[in-house]
């Protein structure tokens, strides 16, 4: 008797929670009509693979984007750019934000997309190495794989949509440091986590450029600190930098969380140390300005929406066979213009453009955009 009561209670509870989940689903899908068509087919012949394939054939190709994590405006803007282009082309779009910013979480999402038989997966990798197996499986299933924002091993994907060349970013940041220090003095870097692929690449580029040119010889990089993209730890690290290096002139933080935390510390303390790096205008508007009351004279970033758009056009080009991801391939990315696949350090990539500079003159215009 009790067994039955338990079963019924438990099953009802499950059904209720699941229904909630499905209710949410309706809002999530980009192309509800196609989805319904798929369901109609599904209802007619449940659990048959043939049905799934048929559905896939009728509702056109599906393009997926997997961001680094949920709850991040940068990722959200990238995904919205991607979605905009895909839906405008009359195709289905799947946007997936993994539950946490780890490779483990992205694996689950990628596996699910393989099951769904999507045409292409664009992924912003949380780790360069740990997605290898899942992406190989996707490729084996005939899915086109590309990366954006943060790359994986070159042979795991067809092409990488890079927001800006690594050397270019390193150069830009180092020139900003040179400018803000007045040509000589100490500077420090506040990074995200120690394993963030793109952060490490930019920092390495800064170091090698600093060594290669005489004009940077008077700059001294005192420390690379890691704030793990947590406001609290970034704050601790910034305060420690200020205390350990009284002669510090500039902090360069190439991460959105780090730069915002550092900006607040510097501005609250009225410190003479200046800040630059890569940050979201909407997060940094409060701190950007030329006078002493603001801690960050200028910073850089690329347009995340355009990055998403570029990834979308690249996905479509890959699926249509316009490009294969080989060096020298060219295609037109809608109103973004023409792009060419280039090879840098053994990685084939498409570069969006130069980093954009945000300063007191244009921050107000951009802070509401992203």
């Amino acid at each position: 008797m009790k067994k039955k009561v338990l079963s019924v209670l438990l099953s009802t509870a499950m059904a209720a929670t699941l229904l909630v989940g499905c209710g949410e689903q309706a809002a999530e899908t980009a192309a509800p009509a196609a989805e319904e068509a798929a369901e109609a087919v599904e209802e007619a012949a449940p659990a048959e693979e043939a049905a799934a394939e048929e559905a896939a054939a009728t509702d056109g190709a599906t393009y997926a984007i997997v961001t680094k994590s949920a709850g991040n405006p940068f990722n959200e803007r990238t995904a919205s750019g991607f979605e905009e282009v895909i839906t405008a082309a009359g195709l289905n779009c799947v946007v997936q934000h993994p539950e946490s910013a780890t490779a483990d979480a992205q694996i689950a999402v990628i596996q699910s997309l393989i099951s769904q038989g999507v045409s292409s997966i664009a992924v912003a990798a949380n780790d360069a190495n740990a997605l290898t197996a899942a992406l190989a499986e996707a490729k084996a299933a005939g899915i086109h794989v590309l990366t954006l924002d943060s790359d994986v091993n070159a042979d795991s994907r067809e092409v990488f949509c890079n927001q800006a060349g690594v050397q270019e970013i390193g150069q830009t940041l180092l020139d900003a440091v040179l400018d803000l220090t007045g040509g000589e003095g100490q500077y420090a870097i506040l990074s995200a986590t120690s394993q963030a692929t793109n952060q490490n690449a930019w920092i390495d580029a800064m170091k090698s450029i600093a060594e290669s040119d005489e004009k940077y010889s008077k700059l001294e990089l005192v420390e690379v600190a890691y704030g793990d993209d947590e406001p609290q730890k970034s704050t601790d690290q910034t305060q420690a930098l200020l205390q350990n290096y009284p002669d510090l002139k500039v902090i360069c933080s190439p991460t959105t969380v780090g730069i915002a935390a550092a900006a607040k510390v510097l501005q609250d303390q009225g410190s003479s140390v200046k800040l630059t790096g890569l940050g979201l205008p909407s997060e940094m508007a409060e701190y950007i300005g030329d006078d002493d009351a603001h801690s960050c004279p200028y910073m850089f970033l690329w347009n995340p929406i355009d990055l998403g758009r570029l990834a979308a056009y690249t996905s479509i080009a890959l699926v249509n066979g316009d490009i294969t991801g080989a060096t020298g391939d060219t295609f037109t990315a809608g109103d973004l213009g023409d792009y060419e696949v280039v090879e840098i350090d053994g990685a084939t990539q498409i570069i969006l453009g130069a980093p954009f500079k945000f300063d007191a003159s244009n921050i107000d215009e951009w802070k509401s955009v992203y």
């Binding site: 949920a70 991040n72 600190a225 406001p231 915002a260 607040k264 997060e283 508007a285």
Partner: protein, 326 residues
């Protein structure tokens, strides 16, 4: 005779062994970084660890009843994200009201925990684990992948600005209030009684269920308050804020001598425990430990402090026992 009993009293207390540990820690750090005990540093330590310290008080109450609450940072994120969004979309900018709303959200979250644990006789870690997923998920859902940032919370963040005394006052008021409540009020004694022996407490006429519910409500309230403070101090609200930091709070309590099986622990001990955690976090980058090794060193210190505390406690107990035999 008089002196001896005072000495015995001192060595019998957990706070004494904790003070020894704290002193050792401070001496080592001061040797490595001579300017560590400057006014600025102490101020920054307190400000940057206000959240942990405030929540540690609630965790003390929860742990005194032999409970645990691992949903606190999710509650914090939910409350913090809510008031962040209220400001982002220009619905509300009144600092006082934001504090009230954030704390109220925490109070409701805590009430749910409490009622399920007290009435449903559910193990606290399980119930709060469920809500850990739920409130964190809700924080993401209401954020809609957006953050509340510096410009959104402009006026509000003045409260937690480096240099404002607001957070310190909250910290002071919280600790003084709890010190008084836990030591000299009937409610405080009731919490101890329930934790030490729920059966006996029930027989002696204490409403155990109500006490347990109120303990989780206190915890929730403080977690909500911490959420508001977090948005104010860091001038940003992100759905993943303070992720997994509940363990820091629990560690602070345990280091401070609060027993996980209930009935034992004090406000002073909690304060010292939270202070030790805060000092470790602050000192690691200052004493020049390689960034990559900082987590490793943090873990070793926490474990060492906990074990050292056990060993000194054992030694003190043995001495007290010997003295009694004499």
């Amino acid at each position: 005779m008089e002196k001896k009993s005072l000495w015995a009293k001192l060595t019998a207390s957990r706070e004494a062994s904790l003070l020894v540990v704290l002193a050792v820690l401070l001496i080592v750090i001061s040797i490595l970084s001579p300017t560590f005990l400057s006014f600025t540093n102490v101020r920054q330590i307190l400000l940057n660890n206000t959240l942990t310290m405030v929540m540690a008080l609630g965790m003390l109450c929860v742990m005194l009843t032999a409970g645990i609450d691992i949903s606190i940072t999710s509650t914090l994120a939910f409350a913090g994200m809510t008031i962040g969004m209220l400001q982002k979309y220009d619905i509300l900018h009144n600092t006082f009201l934001l504090f009230v709303i954030g704390s109220a959200i925490g109070l409701v979250c805590g009430f749910l925990n409490g009622i399920i644990i007290a009435k449903g006789k559910v193990a606290p870690i399980i119930c709060t684990m469920g809500f850990m997923y739920i409130w964190r998920g809700m924080a993401y859902v209401i954020s809609g992948n957006a953050w509340a940032s510096g410009q959104d919370v402009a006026g509000f963040s003045d409260f937690g600005k480096d240099g404002s005394i607001g957070p310190y006052i909250i910290l002071l008021v919280a600790y003084v209030t709890f010190f008084i409540v836990m030591k000299w009020t009937r409610f405080g004694r009731r919490i101890y009684a329930v934790g030490a022996n729920p059966e006996a407490a029930r027989i002696s006429g204490i409403n155990v269920d109500r006490t347990i519910t109120s303990v989780y409500m206190i915890m929730g309230f403080l977690a909500g308050l911490a959420g508001v403070l977090s948005v104010s101090i860091y001038a940003s609200a992100q759905p993943n804020m303070q992720y997994a930091k509940e363990m820091d709070v629990i560690a602070a309590c345990v280091i401070g001598g609060v027993s996980m099986s209930g009935g034992r622990g004090s406000v002073v001990g909690t304060f010292l425990g939270a202070l030790i955690i805060a000092i470790i976090a602050k000192a690691l980058p200052l004493v020049g430990i390689d960034a990559i090794a900082q987590n490793l060193v943090k873990g070793i210190i926490i474990l060492a402090v906990v074990i050292l505390n056990v060993i000194t406690q054992r030694m003190m107990d043995r001495q007290n026992l010997l003295r009694r035999e004499l």
